[in-house]
Amino acid sequence: MTLFRQLMAATALAAIANVALAAADIEVNTPAINQIKQSMQARNAQLAPLYGSGAVGLTKDGLVSLRDANAVPLAQRAQANQLVAEENRDRSQLYKEIARANSHPEWEGEIRSTFAQRWIDKAQGGWYVQKAGGDWVKK
């Protein structure tokens, strides 16, 4: 019986160690993640004016959306649409890659909602962000 108790104690300790180890940090420094990050960083120069004019807003699910096409001159509308599509592709890929880099693909949704909240929290004044109900508000 003592052996059984020792075994259970060891198991419990191992389980605690596993939890502590895995919960300690999130890996975001992989070649794939860095590449997506750089791509988004380069695109930001073109997206920032669109955030500022309110043409593009930050959605509640961690993406961007062309919420007011009329705020973009007709000649630049196709380009704006393309920027939004490319940005969303990168963002979705980023969330997936982070989950995968941490060996928990099932975390993708939670990573996405964490980012969604932080993008909105860090958005500059005057930018449009989407509330949980779907309404757009100006920060």
């Binding site: 300690a24 975001v28 928990h104």
Partner: protein
């Protein structure tokens, strides 16, 4: 003779239990938030709002704050 038979079973059970704990792990919400902030700052290049050079190899993080279940 009974113990010699039950012990391997118990050991197998114990292993399975510990494996389950590893799989059903809590989502590290605080660490994820910190990682998100770092990436967002880099993408938006908002050096003014957070320290420009955050310590790269941070030691033990405040893991106890991560108490949100993964579901």
């Amino acid at each position: 003779m009974r113990t010699s038979h039950t012990l391997p079973v118990l050991a197998a059970l114990a292993l399975l239990t510990s494996a389950c704990v590893t799989i059903n792990i809590y989502f590290p919400a605080a660490a994820a938030e910190k990682a998100a902030d770092k990436i967002i700052d880099e993408v938006w290049q908002q050096q003014g709002k957070t320290p420009a050079k955050p310590a790269e190899g941070k030691p033990a993080d405040a893991a106890p704050a991560d108490n949100k279940p993964a579901q």
